[in-house]
Amino acid sequence: MTIKLEIEHLAKIYPTGDGVKQIDFYVNEGELVTLLGPSGCGKTTVLRSVGGFIEPTSGTIKINNKEVHHLPPEKRPSAMVFQSYNLWPHMTVYDNLAFSMKLKKVKKKVIQEKVTEVLKLVHLLGMEKKYPSELSGGQQQRIALARALLLEPEVLLLDEPFSALDAKLRHELREELREIQAKRNLTMLFVTHDQEEALSISDKIVVMNNGHIEQIAEPQDVYNTPASLFVAQFIGRMNFVKGKAVNNTIRIGDLTFPFDDAYTGNVTIGVRPEDIQLADNRTSSIDALVDKSMMLGHFAEITLQTKMGSLKMFVDREQMKQIALKSTIPIHLNRFLIFNETGEVLNIIGG
């Protein structure tokens, strides 16, 4: 596999002191890599540095193994899709799409062919004469995507492209993007703050927090083996319980677990709701009072009161029938993570 985009030691510090630092990652050809993190963590800063709209304080950005960070945006082999579409309202759809080719003095006939082809790809054939204001948000973003595709970019950059759209449309466009990627073998750097979106479309996720990278991994690894407390709480659902590690044991209230680590001090136990299960007779169990139940479609979320504290677990329809509110049930933790005081993972137990 060839590396298309490579970012090394990138830092951008704004005059206010905010910004990003120690950004290192790469994107292989044909891959979709997502920058994921809460709002303000620096995703856009990284993406815009690649696009050429921000001058990094230090570090290198290479596309196809060539340094590009000294080039203006119009000279970079990247193309950008913005959250706010940014179509030009005084031009028709056709002119919006043709603009880049007209600048390059491409023949009119070729322009027409390419516009038709790309409109077919984004399912908007026949919209050539419309103005952006006559299109819905989803259609506008498809045109913006088409405009970027016409540049035949080495790397396609997308900054929260679907977050202004409603949930159903967002799902549709994600799928379409994946289809187009397969057809065109696109290499993409995708920014989102939506962990579900990131998990569903990425080949690789770069989790960012507060201007730095917390973890780079495939979606299932980010979910199953988060590198830090931050990643664990940002991605998916997780119960957190405070405890103490002393003499190879962990104490939570008056419960104790054996712990095979020299670490002594405060710890946080993290357990995903789906890793809490009804205990059968063979396993060691914890008593839990069923406090609340919330129906969430094909499953329910149950709030339990235990000696460890309050825990949430998921149960399916069949189990729900057997569990009465305010009854006590035995539960078992199938798998959990132990974090030290600074949020690093010490150990993963079970599973």
Binding site: G51, G52, F53, P72, P73, E74, S78, A79, M80, F82, S84, N86, L87, W88, P89, H90, F99, S100, L103, K104, Y131, P132, S133, A144, R147, A148, L150, L151
Partner: protein, 273 residues
């Protein structure tokens, strides 16, 4: 009455306001128009008793009056062009660059319009005397531009602010140099504002009398300046004819601008979110 009853109270009030507005707005204009074509018009009559084009031929045949008309249009055109050249880059800078003097500039622009004009002009005239600009074409142009700077900067500036920086970035991204972005994206998107400001500039220059009078006498007498002496020296019909000639470009230009701005830009530019 049945007709009004079906309309409801609010509609009737709206109707009355509309009538009042039409009366105030078009009444004087209509009166002016009638007067310009009147031969004889006694006070209580609603229409002139005799129609005539005498004063039209008088005005249009008087060489000095025709010359003043030409002068007015030439000055207005030059003032508009120079204002565009000076103000459009300034307007863009105001819209894009957040320099600290922004507020100060806005304030100083407003200030020139807050003082009584004559006071400002007298101060300028003193300066013009020292610079030998009194009774010159350049002097008149300068004094007009002082007036037009304000809206020629602030209206386009607001229009430029409506062009989002990211829309320009999108154009950079597809391969346009900064200059091409300005020419193909920013300028066309701000066009409605620039046209409106240019029309304002043209008209305000066309109608400017005080400053022109102060700086331009005796050699440069534009229409509004000449108007004073016509009103003083001739019957009101002559003044009416002259007013109609002075009003005509205003109306034509406003309608043209409305149609032009309305047709392509208002519809597709401003509707955008």
């Amino acid at each position: 009455m049945w007709y009004f009853r079906t309309l409801g109270k609010r509609k009737i009030i709206e109707f009355i306001f509309l009538c009042l507005f039409m009366l105030f707005f078009f009444g004087p204009l209509l009166n002016l128009l009638l007067l310009a074509f009147a031969g004889e018009w006694q006070y209580p009559d609603i229409l002139p008793s005799v129609w005539s084009l005498n004063w039209w031929s008088f005005v249009l045949q008087d060489e000095s009056l025709v010359r003043s008309m030409w002068l007015s249009f030439v000055i207005a055109t030059v003032v508009t062009l120079i204002s565009i050249i000076i103000c459009i880059p300034a307007a863009y800078a105001f819209a894009r660059i957040r320099f600290p003097l922004r507020r100060f500039f806005l304030f100083s622009f407003l200030l020139t319009n807050a003082f009584p004009k004559m006071g400002l002009y007298v101060a300028i005239a003193v300066l013009f005397y020292q610079m030998n600009l009194m009774n010159t074409f350049t002097g008149i142009i300068l004094i007009h531009i002082i007036n037009t700077l304000m809206f020629m900067t602030w209206i386009p500036s607001a229009a430029f602010e409506n062009v989002h920086k990211s829309q320009e970035e999108a154009a950079r991204d597809v391969g346009a140099s900064p200059l091409r972005v300005f020419w193909h994206i920013t300028l066309p998107m701000a066009k409605p504002g620039i046209i409106v400001a240019s029309v304002f500039t043209f008209l305000s220059s066309l109608n400017e009398a005080e400053g022109t009078f102060l700086v331009g006498v005796p050699n440069y007498q534009t229409m509004p300046v000449t108007m004073y002496s016509i009103i003083a020296d001739y019957p009101s019909t002559a003044g009416a004819v002259f007013s109609v000639i002075l009003t005509l470009p205003t109306i034509i230009l406003l309608f043209a601008a409305r149609r032009f701005v309305g047709a392509d830009a208002f519809a597709n530019g401003f509707k955008m979110k």
